[in-house]
């Protein structure tokens, strides 16, 4: 990712005799070969294949033919517009929550924790990855279930009245509501936020904090004017790593939501696996990709991270 700009490695000065040079020039390309081959086979080829699928018409029985039928895109967009809206709003909410939860944690790990605790906390952050995504999400189903501890606690505090009124939950339930889906997304993508944040914060020289204090900045001003701006590349990387996969996710909506919380991922899954309408499914995938690309481009322009160290 270009946003987590590392300082460019210093140019390597060749120590060997000039006779060996032509060979050395080729070395980087040989090193790139496995990666390029992988991308061609598993990215470029499927993309072209899906692109052609999205422009086909026909049915499973009669077979599909490329007819340059662009209307599929429009039809898919119209049919699934609310899925898109939900996808992006759930993903955006989850990203903001991840940032709100992840930043203080990453800050604590980077600046407050002792060396020993630092590693322990980092291991705890990635510990959920030791179980599968599906199992973790199923566990949340239990946690948020109607008779579960969360609903009980929220009921006691009468918070469900408020969230019901706001439309986040309904009928004093958490499961099968937008709140449950956002909770699941937040939980599942939190490590993708914390790790880049930690990396960018950890690189900040603590003396910069002292220098800011010495120059009349109170602790909060120091954070606002020094720490946060320098950590922006980490914020950008973390939000992208959270937002992009979260908008395409369908597991959380499937397991924690009801049909009225379905996201685009669920639509694509249904079209591909249940309805077997491959052109619509492929078109949906392309629309999702285009929209994400567009949003990311605007976001990166706004964040303007090129200038940052």
């Amino acid at each position: 990712m270009t946003t987590t700009t590392e300082a460019a490695p210093p140019e390597v000065v060749p120590l060997t005799a000039p006779a060996k040079r032509p060979r050395r020039k080729l070395t980087p390309y040989w090193l790139l070969l496995p990666g390029i081959a992988w991308l061609v086979v598993f990215f470029a080829v499927p993309m072209i294949y899906q692109g052609s699928t999205s422009l086909q018409t026909g049915s499973l029985e009669e077979g599909f033919k490329v007819t340059w039928h662009f209307a599929t895109y429009w039809d898919a967009l119209v049919e699934y517009k609310w899925h898109f809206v939900r996808s992006f709003s759930y993903a955006a909410t989850a990203t903001v929550l991840c940032l709100a939860i992840g930043y203080p944690l990453a800050y604590t790990i980077a600046f407050k924790a002792s060396k020993r605790w630092r590693n322990v906390i980092l291991i705890l952050v990635i510990a959920p990855f030791f179980t599968s995504f599906l199992i973790r999400t199923l566990a949340w189903k239990t946690i948020l279930s109607d008779g579960g501890p969360v609903v009980g606690a929220l009921n006691t505090l009468h918070l469900l009245d408020i969230s019901d009124a706001l439309g986040l939950t309904s009928g004093h339930r958490v499961l099968a509501t937008p709140l449950a889906v956002v909770c699941g997304l937040t939980y599942n993508f939190l490590p993708f936020m914390i790790l880049p944040l930690y990396t960018s914060l950890e690189r900040i020289d603590p003396r910069l904090h002292e220098a800011a204090g010495d120059l009349y900045a109170r602790p909060f001003t120091t954070f606002r004017k020094v720490t946060f701006p320098i950590s922006l590349p980490g914020v950008v990387a973390g939000t992208l790593l959270t937002f992009i996969p979260a908008s395409g996710d369908y597991i959380n909506a499937q397991l924690l939501g009801s049909p009225s919380e379905q996201m685009v991922g669920n639509g694509i899954q249904k079209q591909f696996l249940n309805v077997l309408d491959y052109p619509t499914a492929a078109a949906l995938s392309f629309i999702l990709m285009a929209l994400i690309l567009g949003m990311v481009t605007v976001y990166m322009k706004k964040a303007g991270t090129e200038d940052l160290v």
Partner: protein, 381 residues
């Protein structure tokens, strides 16, 4: 700009430390010390790494909380104040410039934090003072080490501190640039008249720049004084060895005549002015600086009244401006002798028997209970 800074300076910037100390758990970084830095002076805290000089500076800045004692700046007790409320600014080791801000904004940082609206004129004037006017819109990483150093000074000075603290500000620069910046800093200090407290491990740097030097060792101030005073009259073996180079000869006081002490070093009779002996003890170290000694062939006549030690040249090295000899003396030590290269072909070869002589008034004496190699950098830890 300079006049404004002078006005601030006149407002009074005495730094007074009383009984200040710092302990970390069981280890003591700074033993209780009293220190007064007079307003407008260029003051250096000199010592090897780990001697407590940086901790002392950080306690003045408010970046370290003293375990005991008080810090007064210009008569105001600031011991309990956080750094952002103290009338001091710091030039940090390796500068700690804000990497995301350009030079202009780095320098303007302190002014903006205090709510100053129109900073442009001040910042530009300050950048002129450190000769970086053309660099205002560059980022710190686009500047050379020397330029970054000047930005750090400008960023601190623009706030008109009563005291400017400098923590090894030249440590990251190469030798030539360091020399240049020493003079530059001295010029700025003379121009603005603000009290500078400068921490360094480089004795030459301290002597070049400071009006007063406090030599620190093991969390204590060993000796305090003007550079020439410390150099000519070191009170301890640490100061004698750390500040320049010294020859120390263990000797016994055998008698006194008038203002002079008679000493015997392994049977060699030497004289030492009583006023230049820092101790009443009978066992002393007699010290003499290498450049104060004259070296001559063994057969040479030596004038009456000079201290005289025979020896053999072990090593001689020609370093351009002078020749440095190592002489195995009859008293048992290896003595260093620096001889100006004023005549040609006078270099004495290794192995030659020689006689060393010097004016007794150039000797100094100190208590022999101290380690003779303290501060040489080779002493047993």
């Amino acid at each position: 700009m300079t006049e404004q800074l002078r006005d601030t300076a006149a407002a009074g910037g005495d730094v007074r430390l009383t009984g200040i100390s710092k302990t970390y758990g069981a280890s003591t970084a700074v033993h209780p010390l009293d220190l007064t830095v007079p307003q407008g002076s260029f003051f250096a805290l000199l010592g090897a790494s780990g001697c407590g000089k940086t901790t002392t500076l950080r306690m003045i800045a408010g970046l370290e909380e003293p375990s005991s004692g008080t810090v007064l700046i210009g008569g105001q007790d600031v011991t309990a104040l956080p750094p952002y409320r103290r009338p001091v600014n710091t030039v940090f080791q390796s500068y700690a410039l804000f990497p995301h801000l350009d030079i202009f904004e780095n320098v303007a940082f302190g002014l903006r934090r205090r709510g100053k609206k129109d900073v442009r004129k001040q910042v530009e004037e300050m950048l002129e003072l450190v000769e970086l006017g053309a660099m205002a819109r560059r980022k710190p990483h686009q500047l050379s080490g020397g330029q970054q150093q000047r930005v750090a000074v400008a960023r601190a000075l623009i706030n008109h501190p009563q005291v400017l603290l400098l923590d090894e500000p030249l440590g990251a620069l190469d030798l030539k640039l360091r020399r240049q910046m020493q003079l530059e800093l001295k010029r700025i200090q003379t121009e603005v008249g603000i009290t500078f407290v400068h921490v360094t491990h480089d004795q030459e740097e301290a002597m070049t720049m400071a009006d007063t030097i406090a030599v620190m060792n093991g969390g204590r101030i060993e000796q305090l004084g003007a550079p020439a005073d410390l150099y000519e009259n070191p009170a301890t073996t640490f100061v004698a060895n750390f500040l320049g180079q010294s020859n120390l000869i263990p000797a016994e006081v055998t008698g006194r005549s008038g203002d002079e002490l008679q000493l015997s070093a392994s049977g060699v009779r030497l004289a030492l002015p009583k006023a230049r002996c820092a101790t009443e003890a009978t066992r002393v170290h007699l010290g003499v600086r290498p450049e104060k000694i004259t070296i001559a062939h063994a057969c040479t006549e030596v004038a009456e009244g000079r201290n005289r030690v025979a020896g053999t040249v072990v090593d001689s090295s020609f370093i351009g401006v002078s020749t440095q000899y190592v002489v195995r003396a009859e008293t048992g030590q290896e003595l260093a002798v620096f001889e100006q290269n004023m005549d040609r072909d006078v270099r004495i070869a290794a192995g030659a028997p020689v006689v060393l002589h010097w004016n007794p008034a150039h000797s100094f004496g100190m208590d022999a209970t101290q380690a003779i190699d303290a501060g040489t950098g080779e002493e047993a830890a």
